[in-house]
Amino acid sequence: MSSLSGIGGRLYRGETSIDFIGKRRRWYAFSGIIIIISAITLGTQGLHLGIEFKGGSEFSISKAGATVEDGRAAIAAAGVTGETVVQKVGNDRLRIQTGALDSFAAVKSSLAQTFGVNVDDIDTQIIGPSWGKEITKKALYGLIGFILVVMVFLTVAFESKMALAAIIATIHDVFITVGIYALVGFDVTPATVIGFLTILGYSLYDTVVVFDKVRENTRSITSTGKITYSAAANLAVNQTLVRSFNTSLIALLPVASILFVGAGLLGAGTLKDLSLALFVGLATGTYSSIFIATPILAQLREREPAMRALTKRVAQHAPGAVTLEAKGGLNGSNSGSETKVSWARGPRNQPKRKGR
């Protein structure tokens, strides 16, 4: 742990600097490939939708020694045809999913008979055919509303370009998360959709923390003229790296415990679906705040005339400093550690330290 702290100190002073912004094309390409794969999988095999989206019934029986075979026999006896799923959940719970039923009560009583339990002890869920559509519609409204409100808020709290970059990163997260769901074939239930929506909030939360530091670092760069916007932003990402790591880990720990307990004790259900979506989303959210949001922001800002002028000035005043235009920083292989240090050498980086 202390080695991580040590890294934190070095990152803060700019002694160790990871070139997040210079190598942006690498991250863009990486994300681009994942998004393309996601889009293809979505198009070809689509999402694995739970019964909530198709309509149908679910029965859950708690009985020691209940077997999948018994469950199948019981629903077959009740005359259920078509696609059914019978699963063993946990130690002694059996979960049965069917399509829309003509004879819901008959199935229930057949199950009660087979397993020798009271009809009222069978947990059931019936979902109408339009339910999934309704939820999807509301989720979409929520998504659009959220993006608009946050756009306005971030424009007021920060600036319009930060808002734009943050939103792009968020949409990127949702895309990748949905793509992973299509790829792996996880069940998508309403709880998953909620998970996706929560990711939006969380991904932005993470980005906001990084951007706040970017803003602080770039506040007076045009007057001092020592560092380019990109370099200052890169320093900010590096300075908040330990925090991002800690935050993500701390956020993932409870989510992981929900996932673990939810999947282990209850099997499929709200807890598992929700936490799985959050787990996948939190990971992508952290990635995008660092690798996508800030590079996009830097790119947007570097287009401004003032920032271009600054980049020129920095290049003239400090020949050692690497600017995005001058060196591109794309490969970084020949720039060496020396240039990296000069990248990050900001106004706050003077040896003020006096020890203790």
Binding site: M1, S2, S5, G8, G9, Y12, E52, S60, S62, D102, A105, D121, D123, T124, Q125, G128, W131, E134, K138, A139, Y141, G142, F146, A157, P190, A191, I194, T198, G201, Y202, L204, Y205, V209, D212, T240, R243, N246, T247, L249, I250, A251, L253, P254, V255, A256, S257, I258, F260, V261, L265, L266, G269, T270, L271, L274, S275, R353, K354, G355, R356
Partner: protein
């Protein structure tokens, strides 16, 4: 350490008193609200149906010809369904519209094991109509061509209607689903509920909203057994009078008036005489249950909207208890992991994290108690999940603060001045980040239904609690701790040692204490 004592400027003393005061106010607040909770008798968190067993039904209003989904219509529907559900007499049953505007859904939750009954009762979310029977017959489909000559058709029945009637097979399940949304002004074909008869029915003369009262009664002489007493309002009296007057003289089956609920004939009693008095009796070989069910249908049948059954969830108390345990276990585990990590990474400062999280948990618990009493808040499984996820978000505020603090110390500030300068910067970040989180929670709450709202609610609530705790507890606590020599001197277990901050110790030995 002498440098530390010397630097106790008056301002620092004041700030120290302020920190202590802030924590004291929080403690008093907690005690006062705990007292309020005890006085109000809120000693247990109200649990949702998924945690204690029960049935919940979610209905989505469906627009149909002639009816529009309006806010008033939904409100009225909620009122009617609530009456029906309450007629079951189950304590703590709840009927509420969720969502916003006309996009709302009606969620019915009834605790305990009344599942099937509720589903059936609420399933009858239908229009009630009184229609004269024009044609009555066996439920099976017949060939329409045989009697399609218009001359042989009874008045009010055209060839098209007759063809429909002939094709109708009431022995099929799908014919008995009900949910008909046809306008009351046209003649229709329909089955009875059991699928043993089919009918052609005249336009509705009397509709459910004209019924003012209905009740089940028993004939004391025992001749008629259970029957249903029915009263109409002014308009209903007139129209029902006119309807009965016009049909009594007709031959069977046209002297029958069908009570049609949700497109299905509940009963089609024969009218023996004109009923002009505004009240009627429906007799038949009813059991007590059948009679009171019919009375309920008549009384509350006039729903202004048609509904789709969105979701029916029935949870047994066993599963509820399992889910509760799983939720609590996950919460406990999540807390423990966060504690462990905080201690490993922040060492002494980890105590602050743990203490802050515990305070936050205490406030959350108290809020759940009081909100349960004040606004009927119930904790659901999704709500627990929201609270657990919030542990991460809450802890993050501390991480943001602590990392800022350590950055300030790395810049060469003393811990005490770092607390103030770091706080000012961290505060800004925390407020903005929490606002974003809050926006997400509020929007989720308004756009979502059912369990999701529980999730959004606890997420929003805990975000607010996070802000409160960071401001009145964590920051003051750190400010106080910064005055102790353990932290200020950078003890190796304090989380502020030069080593754990990754600071270089100057080799020329010029390291000095800065006051």
């Amino acid at each position: 350490m002498s440098a530390l004592k010397n630097s106790q400027s008056p301002k620092a003393v004041k700030s120290s008193a302020k920190s202590a005061k802030s924590i004291a106010i929080l403690a008093i607040g907690l005690i006062v609200f705990s007292g309020v909770a005890v006085i109000q008798g809120a000693t247990k968190i109200k649990l949702g149906l998924d945690l204690r067993g029960g049935t919940s039904v979610t209905l989505t209003p469906r627009a149909s010809e002639g009816t529009k989904v309006t806010t008033e219509a939904i409100d009225q529907a909620v009122e009617i369904i609530r009456q029906r559900v309450n007629s079951l007499g189950v304590a703590e049953s709840e009927v509420a519209a969720q969502g916003s505007g006309t996009n709302r859904q009606i969620v019915i939750s009834v605790p305990g094991q009344t599942g099937e009954k509720i589903v059936q009762l609420v399933g009858q979310t239908a229009e009630l109509r009184f229609r004269q029977v024009l044609v009555e017959g066996a439920p099976v489909a017949t060939t329409a061509a045989a009697d399609a000559k218009s001359a042989t058709l009874p008045s009010g029945v055209n060839a098209e209607l007759n063809a429909k009637y002939a094709a109708l097979d009431c022995t099929k399940k799908e014919s008995l689903q009900g949910g008909s949304t046809e306008s009351p002004d046209i003649a229709v074909v329909g089955c009875d509920r059991a699928g043993t008869q089919k009918y052609i029915l005249a336009p509705a003369q009397v509709v459910g909203s004209m019924v003012s009262k209905a009740s089940a009664a028993i004939d004391q002489q025992g001749a008629a057994g259970w029957y249903v007493l029915l009263s109409f309002n002014g308009e209903g009296t007139k129209k029902f009078g006119a309807l009965t007057t016009s049909v009594t003289t007709l031959a069977a089956p046209q002297n029958q008036v069908a009570i049609v609920l949700d497109g299905l004939v509940v009963s089609a009693p024969r009218i023996n005489e004109a009923i002009n008095g505004g009240s009627a009796q429906i007799t038949g070989s009813f059991t007590q249950e059948e009679a009171s069910n019919l009375a309920n249908v008549l009384k509350y049948g006039a729903l202004p909207l048609a509904f789709d059954q969105g979701e029916v969830l029935q949870v047994s108390p066993t599963l509820g208890a399992d889910q509760l345990h799983a939720g609590l276990l996950a919460g406990l585990l999540g807390f423990l992991l966060v504690f462990l990590y905080s201690f490993m990474y922040y060492k002494g400062l980890g105590i602050v994290t743990v203490a802050s999280l515990m305070i936050a948990a205490a406030i959350a618990y108290l809020s759940f108690l009081l909100l349960g009493e004040w606004i009927g808040f119930t904790l659901t499984l999704a709500g627990i999940a929201g609270a657990i996820v919030a542990v991460g978000i809450t802890a993050d505020s501390f991480v943001v603060f602590f990392e800022r603090l350590r950055d300030e110390v790395r810049e060469g500030r003393s811990l005490r001045s770092a607390v103030e300068s770091g706080w000012v910067k961290a505060r800004h970040t925390i407020i903005i980040a929490d606002t974003v989180s809050m926006i997400a929670a509020v929007l989720l709450y308004f756009f979502a239904v059912g369990g999701v709202r529980g999730f959004a609610f606890t997420l929003g609530l805990t975000t607010l609690i996070d802000l409160l705790v960071v401001f009145v507890f964590t920051h003051p606590l750190v400010a106080l701790l910064a005055r102790t020599s353990f932290f200020a001197s950078g003890h190796k277990w304090s989380g502020f040692s030069a080593k754990s901050l990754g600071m270089k110790i100057k080799t020329d030995g010029s390291a000095e204490l800065k006051g």
